[in-house]
């Protein structure tokens, strides 16, 4: 069976031209779908989704094992509503507890618990052994993938990409190119290829 994605490119070129970009976008979305499936497959054994795992990991990375929910969402580059639902689940599993900020009671912190820390360690060991879901690619390939990704994210003004800075508290902007927040928000919300 020939690769349906390659086949699609030929049709596209015959009909409209632009088959290269059409193939690249379809390949990329396919790879991310497979990668996600592999990661989710590993994490499911620990009762985690990738989003929950990423949130937990981030908390264990932070100096005091806790972060304000707003900061957590910023670093995960997800919508506040998603942070809430992820943290709800993690609290339910007792991997995370909600605690008030020591000086500003209006700020709610998510703090990772001992069992949350343990599950991150166990899941991460398996994720690392599985090379984060990758196969068939060398370290150089991964560096190339990162460089292309960063170039794309810069060009579309993604949050935190090299050439941009969005800091709500200071209003300071970096590189000078404006970040199209509506576009970023749309990308955050549109997380799945729904039917």
């Amino acid at each position: 069976m020939t690769d349906p994605i390659r086949e699609m490119r030929d049709h596209w070129d015959e009909r409209w031209g632009g088959g290269l970009a059409a193939e690249a976008s379809t390949q990329l979305l396919r790879v991310s779908q497979l990668l996600l499936g592999r990661l989710d497959g590993i994490l499911a054994e620990f009762g985690l989704t990738l989003a929950r795992y990423e949130a937990l990991t981030l908390l264990t990375f932070s100096r005091k094992s806790e972060l304000p929910l707003s900061k957590l969402g910023e670093r995960l580059m997800i919508h506040p509503a998603s942070v809430t639902s992820i943290v709800d689940k993690l609290v339910e599993f007792e991997y995370v507890e909600r605690v008030p900020h020591h000086s500003d009671r209006r700020v709610v912190l998510a703090r990772v618990t001992t069992s949350g820390r343990q599950i991150v360690e166990r899941a991460s060991a398996v994720i690392i052994a599985a090379n984060n879901g990758f196969a068939g690619l060398t370290d150089d390939d991964l560096e190339t993938l990162i460089a292309l990704s960063v170039r794309f994210r810069d060009a579309v003004g993604d949050v935190g990409s090299t050439d941009n800075s969005v800091d709500g508290s200071t209003g300071v902007k970096g590189g000078g190119r404006r970040v199209d927040q509506s576009r970023v928000r749309r990308a955050r919300i549109t997380r799945s290829r729904s039917a």
Copy 2:
């Protein structure tokens, strides 16, 4: 604001090592999310999702503007249940009609209608003008992205990737490496990073 993905890599390296693959996978998933957001943003103006657009496009590419639902699912690399729901929507919009196969009445075909063909032409013109959602990348970059994608898909035994062949009708297998169907299926079903 530094890139949260870059920052995560440093933490990962300090804690466990393996930061390269961790960054690459997070970058890739982020890019695919942004790309999908851009494509969905364009297609929403036409009342289409990417999945519906891809199905419609594929039908217009086929010689008789029709395909059996099973074939449609195979070429789109999606689950039969997803094909059904996509075709249901397209029928509702009158972009597609369901017709019985001329010789085998058990086989149902999806056939693109005149208005379905028109919407594909209009949407594709915009998609092409937007370089299929890409920005900041040269044609060489896109070829690199494709090559890396194909190498990954080969390594994990994705359907239709260079080194594999899965053809239910003949039972012939290509490259010799077994396709892990359960893994492919899992990737198909797991389409979103759910909370």
